[in-house]
Amino acid sequence: MATESARLRVKTWICAAVVVFSNVFGNFFLKRGMPATLATPLDYLAVLFRPPVALGVLLLIVWLLSRMALLSWADLSYVLPVTAVGYVLVALAGKFLLHEQITVKRWAGIGLIVAGVALVSGGTAPQTKAAR
C-alpha cells in the first residue's frame, strides 16, 4: 500500500508539472500574439492563425489533455490548489526573463500561493477515494 501511494504521488507530480508548464507557456504565447482589440466575431477566429497564438493554443490542448489525465486519478480539490503554482512561475518568469520589478505585495502573494501548494501537496494524498 505504501508503494502504491508513493507511485501515485510521483505520477501526480510529473503530470502536475506538465499541466502547469503547458498552461504557463500556452498563455504566454497566446498573450504575445493577441492584438489590442477584437472587434468582430470573425476576428476571434482569424487571430487563431497567427503563429504565436497557434503555438499557444497547441500548448493549451496539451494542458487540457494532461489535466484530464491528472483528474482521472487525483481529486479536483487537490489539483486546483497545486496547479496554482503556475501563478508563481509567471511572476518569477517576469522577474528573471523580462526583468520586471516584483513588488512587496506580489512577493507576499507568491509566498501565500507557495504555502497553500505546500500545505495541500505535502499534507494530503492526491486521491481520497477510490474510482467510482
Binding site: L65, S72, S77, L80, A84, K105, L112, L119
Partner: protein, 120 residues
C-alpha cells in the same frame, strides 16, 4: 459590462471543470501513456457527453476571457476569476463527494488570497 463577462467566465469554468473531474474520475486512472493507448483513451472520452459538455463550457470560458481582456486589465481579470477556486472546492466536496479536509480548505484559501495579491 465587465461583471457580465466575469459571471459568464466563472459559471462556465466551474461547470466545465467539475464535469471534467467527474467524467475523468468515472473513466478511471489512466495508466498507459504510450501514444496508441492515449489515442484510444481520447477516442473513448470524445464520445463521453460530460467531457464534450465540459470542453464546450471551457471553450465558452476561454473566449469570454479573451473578450474580458479586451476591456479590462489582467489585474482585474485574474483576481475576479479566482473566485472559481472557492466554488469548485465547494462543489468538489458536495457534488464530487471528495474528502476535503482542513488542510485542503486552508491551502485553497491561501492560494485564493495569494492569487489576488500577485495580480492586483
Amino acid at each position: 459590462m465587465r461583471w457580465c463577462w466575469i459571471a459568464v467566465i466563472v459559471a462556465a469554468t466551474t461547470a466545465g471543470e467539475v464535469m471534467q473531474a467527474f467524467a475523468m474520475r468515472r473513466h478511471g486512472e489512466i495508466r498507459d501513456f504510450r501514444p496508441g493507448a492515449l489515442g484510444r483513451a481520447i477516442a473513448v472520452l470524445a464520445r463521453n457527453r460530460f467531457i464534450v459538455a465540459s470542453v464546450a463550457a471551457m471553450a465558452v470560458s476561454f473566449f469570454a476571457y479573451l473578450g474580458l481582456l479586451t476591456i479590462a486589465e489582467l489585474s482585474f481579470a485574474v483576481p475576479a476569476t479566482a473566485v472559481t477556486y472557492v466554488l469548485e472546492t465547494v462543489l468538489a466536496r458536495y457534488v464530487l463527494k471528495e474528502r476535503v479536509n482542513w488542510l485542503r480548505w486552508a491551502g485553497a484559501s491561501l492560494v485564493i488570497c495569494g492569487v489576488a495579491l500577485v495580480s492586483l
